[in-house]
Amino acid sequence: MTPGSPGAEEQPVADRASAISTKNASKTFEGGTVALEKVSFEVARSQFVSILGPSGCGKSTLLRMVGGLIPADAGGEVRVLGQLQRSPSSDVGIVFQTHNMLPWITVEANIRLAAEMRGLSTSEIAERTRRILDVLKLTPYRSLFPHQLSGGMRQRAAFGQILILRPQILLLDEPFGALDALTRDQLNVELLRLWEEGKQTVILITHSIPEAVFLSDRILVMSDRPGRIIADIAIDFPRPRDPQHTRAFPEFTEHVLTLNHMMGVH
């Protein structure tokens, strides 16, 4: 950026930087398995990016690296909001396929947990919990225990466990992978509404090509192990999207077919 270019002063530094950037990020596990090889990509703020790839290609490893749960090999770097990612921060929320609800406390207590761990004030926690329960339509079920919920509600609560910290970045590791098709479609729409409201930066790992095309601004395709990014596809359907109209675009089917082909489904 040249000095004196318009708008340079008003914009804070962090805003100009991309939300997530990785440079030559590799991961070799003990025993020599190379899970990721020199992965470089950037995700702009508020972008919704999906990652597609065959099983075992290192998608989850990549997500854990971005989340600060595991370090990248020396020589590569992972930055989140401009900062080198070293440990999990409250700017980043991760939702996994297996829900992380503790069976011995209620839905509400599970949702509060992360806020308590991060040391938020009691009144703040109460207020946020109330809002989250409301947004996720879980208020009537807040006193139930996780095993008393249906799969879809449990996964919704799992989002609540993360959204309570109001992270700017959401890392979703196949969050709908264990759900039936109908519930999955429903939660896709709910996720979309949440994102339209909160404008978080999202990385979604999924095995469902239509899900990725429907939700994303951009899809990254990864190769078989060792994982590398082999395609970066922009999906530019207008927003707000909804299942009927978005899926009716002829380009929708085109994208799905291209990606199918790329993933080896002929």
């Binding site: 749960l69 999990p88 992380n100 503790l102 947990l113 761990m117 991060r118 225990f145 996780p146």
Partner: protein, 255 residues
């Protein structure tokens, strides 16, 4: 069977064992007469119950003594076992130093220690409490260690992701997730504590149900011996029931 319809209100889980028990009691009662078994070998059930009733004050007194030994030894075993399990889990130095000894000691027939304990601590309560403790201690240690090590990996990762401190991870994740396993250890340990106390009384005592068994035996009072055995079973049953009631508060096993 319209006449038995009132029975439907009582759950099968209660009726079935009761029926089995009555059938067995009748067989016992009749078999002793029909097969001509000598009374000093196997008294009929009615005689045992009569003896028990006649000696109810003795049985209650001795039960209270043995029960007290068991409770003291058991509580110490649970407290000490959980503490040692935690220490071995949390501090590698304990794992290296204490754990090998525990494994070796565990293999030792603890009943062989009873004479030594009587020499050291005398004929009174303390040697029996120690025996109960020794018998009950190891299952609690092992189950505590196992439970703590068995915390689901995905939950540990989740706690890391939400920035939980090691202490909070321990307190709010590891301990509750270990409790069902620890509870299993406590269940196993309860009858073992009774065995320990009775074994201690066998080796050297002046009181307690174990002592009563030996006395009855020495006097060829098989009916009293059986009555003492009956008291021991009742004691184990009552104590086990108490543990079960506590265990019910930890209901999240396998969820």
């Amino acid at each position: 069977m319209p006449r038995l319809s009132f029975l439907r209100a009582v759950p099968r889980s209660f009726i079935d064992p009761l029926v089995a028990f009555v059938v067995l009691a009748v067989i016992w009662e009749k078999a002793v007469d029909l097969l001509g078994i000598k009374r000093y070998l196997l008294p009929p059930l009615s005689q045992i119950l009569a003896t028990a009733w006649k000696n109810i004050d003795v049985l209650l007194r001795e039960s209270a003594i043995t029960g007290w030994e068991v409770v003291l030894g058991y509580v110490a075993a649970v407290a000490g076992g959980v503490a040692l399990g935690l220490a071995i889990f949390a501090l590698p130095v304990f794992r290296r130093t204490c754990y090998p000894f525990i494994v070796i000691f565990q293999g030792l027939p603890k009943i062989a220690l009873a004479p030594l304990l009587v020499i050291w601590f005398g004929y009174g309560t303390s040697s029996k409490v120690l025996m109960a403790f020794l018998f009950a201690f190891f299952p609690v240690v092992i189950s505590t260690m196992g439970g703590l090590a068995g915390t689901p990996v995905h939950l540990i990762e989740h706690f890391r992701a939400i920035g939980a401190s090691p202490w909070n991870t321990f307190r709010r994740l590891r301990v509750p997730s270990a409790l069902p396993s620890i509870m299993d250890g406590c269940r196993t340990a309860m009858p073992l504590a009774v065995i320990g106390a009775i074994a201690g009384e066998f080796v050297g005592s002046e009181k307690g149900l174990g002592n009563l068994v030996l006395l009855a035996n020495a006097n060829a009072r098989t009916d009293l011996l059986f009555a003492a055995l009956l008291a021991i079973s009742v004691l184990v049953g009552v104590l086990y029931l108490l543990i079960e009631l506590i265990a019910r508060r930890i209901w999240w096993r396998g969820l």
